[in-house]
């Protein structure tokens, strides 16, 4: 965890149920960081890049990203975050989605995704995966954001 500022977790997930389950299991893993939840891509991007308290203007963040969003594809958001010159390009992105298509996974890593996790339908595996992600988050080093010029 960053020493100066707590790392905010930005969760972009259109399914409220999934979001709730993910948050529950992250909390169970002992992660107490602030989690901001967005159900669509537009408002998520707006928060990431424009909001005064958003990560681009204000401190480090870790992004949990679902690929199936109502208004845009998660890969578009990933591309924006990891684009050359983006203030967030070093922010870790964990893609957490139901898609287990090989091509899609490759594409996400090509775009710069840091971790790709397929949501298991079986809840025990799901809970297990999220808790492990939580444990992973407790040790991960998140770089500081370079404020946009």
């Amino acid at each position: 965890m960053n020493q100066h500022q707590p790392v905010g977790i930005v969760m972009i997930e259109d399914d409220e149920g999934h979001a709730r389950l993910i948050e529950k299991n992250i909390r169970r893993a002992g992660i107490l960081n602030d989690v901001r939840h967005f159900t669509d891509g537009t408002s998520a991007l707006d928060f990431l890049f424009e909001a005064p308290d958003g990560p681009a203007k204000n401190g480090p963040a870790l992004i949990l990203l679902d690929l199936n969003l109502p208004d845009m594809s998660g890969t578009d958001i990933l591309a924006r975050i990891k684009a050359e010159g983006s203030p967030l390009r070093r922010a870790p992105v964990v893609v957490l989605t139901t898609t287990d298509d090989k091509v899609e996974i490759q594409r996400c890593y090509d775009l710069g995704c840091n971790v790709y996790i397929t949501k298991p339908v079986d809840y025990d595996s799901f809970a297990q995966a999220i808790r492990q992600l939580g444990l992973f988050l407790t040790v991960i080093q998140v770089p500081d954001i370079e404020p946009a010029e």
């Binding site: 399914d15 999934h18 199936n68 809840y123 809970a127």
Partner: protein
């Protein structure tokens, strides 16, 4: 196409009817001409007979006239000379004369005119003969002078003239008859020519009409052939078009299946997740009930206890098993749609080797079930997708060993034949068979047939059929309950990569 075929068929019927009609007419004409010729020939023959007859009559009349003249000449010689040689000659001619007259009578017996004439002639000749005999008798007695006086007195020259006239009348009558018969003959010859001309005319008409009919039919044939060829040429385009339509539709279904199965997974994650949460939450509740029951049982009703200890766990259990099943089904659809998106890579395939591999891969299962598998050789060449053919074969072989008739060791035969540009691969077993009502159903997703005593979701054959379709083939089954089943996979011998797949 049907229209053209129909037109051709009816055209052929009409054509042959017309042609047969013409041929019958032609033969009728020929027959009529032949009959007419025969009739005319007969007429001419008949007429020639009569002409001949006329000449015979003429000869007979002339002979009789000559005899009469010669008789007269020799009598006069006798009267002049008294020489017996004249007398003998006279006797000879007189003796021959009745025969000559009889001959005329005989020849003209059918003609009343001539009969009457010969009667008169006979009278005159008889009178003449009598007179001659009288004079000759006087001469015979040596009274030469008396005989000459009698000769001078007799009117024989007048009588002779009458006889000559009579004879020439008869000759004239015969000539008249001859002229009549000539006219008749000319008429029948004319009739023959008329018939001949008419027949020739009809034949000509028949020939021309037949020729025109044949020409028209040939033209029809040629135009039908042209349109057939055109149809054939466009047929290929049509087939290509349909194929691309089909593959587009297929792609759409695949995409649809993928999206649907994918999107179904999301809510399922929630259902399963919150069921687990529910289950977790139920635990402290049950604990609470236990504690309350121990410390203050009066607070508890039977209902509360039942809800916490039985109803909740039961409901959660059902939700769980159902969602698990749903998960399996969705995964099956996903797998099918993913298989459908795989790129087909055709290559020359050794079918027998693939069959052997498929058998070897599930050898332990086959042995466990006590079945034997025979791969019949040789197998025809095939250019197709190796993986897909392998999957189809192993699915079919696995199924064949799975549904055995109890008490009968399984025997499975794999064979392949080539039929023109198709290869037909047959997997035949002696298992429990499939009810004919289910022959279509078993290829549908999640559908199974017969006793449900074997594990499975009803996915294998749906998968097989999807693969077969992707390879441009078909699959069907021939079977009866209790008598084994034969699955026939019909594949193109050489897989053609669809041209317009990119359109998807």
């Amino acid at each position: 196409m049907l229209g053209i075929a129909g037109r051709l068929a009816s055209g052929r019927g009409k054509f042959s009817r017309v042609l047969v009609g013409f041929m019958v007419a032609g033969f009728a004409c020929l027959l009529a001409t032949g009959l007419a010729a025969g009739w005319v020939t007969q007429k001419i023959q008949y007429h020639s007979g009569w002409v001949n007859h006329t000449y015979q009559v003429e000869i007979a009349i002339n002979r009789a006239s000559l005899l009469i003249e010669q008789e007269e000449t020799s009598r006069r010689g006798y009267l002049l000379t008294g020489l017996p040689v004249y007398r003998e000659a006279y006797d000879d001619y007189a003796a021959a004369l009745p025969g000559a007259l009889d001959r005329i009578a005989e020849l003209t017996a059918d003609n009343p005119v001539q009969r009457a004439a010969i009667g008169r002639l006979r009278q005159h000749v008889a009178a003449l003969e009598a007179q001659r005999a009288r004079v000759t008798a006087i001469m015979d007695n040596g009274q030469r002078a008396a005989a000459l006086i009698a000769f001078a007195n007799e009117t024989s020259i007048r009588r002779m003239r009458v006889i000559r006239d009579q004879a020439s009348d008869m000759l004239a009558e015969e000539r008249r008859l001859l002229a009549e018969r000539d006219a008749e003959q000319a008429a029948s010859v004319r009739a023959f020519y008329v018939i001949l001309a008419v027949a020739a005319g009809i034949l000509l008409v028949v020939a021309i009409t037949s020729l025109l009919t044949i020409l028209r039919y040939t033209r029809d044939l040629a135009s039908s052939r042209d349109s057939l060829r055109q149809l054939n040429e466009t047929l290929e385009d049509q087939v290509t078009e349909r194929t691309s339509d089909l593959s587009r539709a297929n792609d759409e279904i695949q995409r649809f299946a993928y999206i649907v199965s994918h999107d179904l997974r999301s809510p399922l994650v929630n259902v399963m997740g919150f069921t687990a949460e529910l289950s977790t939450a139920a635990k402290p509740l049950t604990d609470l009930i236990d504690v309350v029951e121990e410390k203050a049982p009066e607070l508890l009703t039977q209902e509360m206890k039942l809800a916490a200890r039985e109803d909740l766990p039961e409901a959660i259990g059902f939700i769980r098993t159902s969602t698990q099943k749903m998960d399996r089904l969705i995964n099956a659809i996903l797998r099918l749609s993913r298989e459908g998106r795989r790129v087909i890579a055709p290559e020359p395939i050794d079918l027998a080797a693939i069959a052997d591999n498929a058998v070897a891969a599930i050898r332990h299962v086959i042995d466990d079930r006590g079945a034997t598998v025979t791969v019949e050789r040789p197998m025809p060449d095939l250019v197709s997708d190796r993986l897909a053919v392998e999957q189809i074969l192993s699915n079919l072989i696995e199924n064949a060993t799975k549904y055995l008739q109890p008490g009968r060791p399984g025997q499975i035969r794999i064979s392949a034949t080539r039929a023109r540009d198709r290869v037909i691969i047959a997997v035949a077993d002696n298992g429990r068979g499939i009810d004919p009502r289910d022959h279509q159903r078993i290829f549908d997703l999640f559908r199974r047939s017969g006793t449900q005593d074997q594990p499975g979701e009803g996915i294998g054959l749906a998968h097989v059929r999807a693969l077969a379709y992707r390879l441009g083939g078909t699959i069907d089954v021939a079977s009866r309950l209790g008598e084994g089943a034969t699955f026939r996979l019909n594949l193109p011998a050489t897989y053609q990569i669809p041209q317009e797949n990119a359109a998807a």
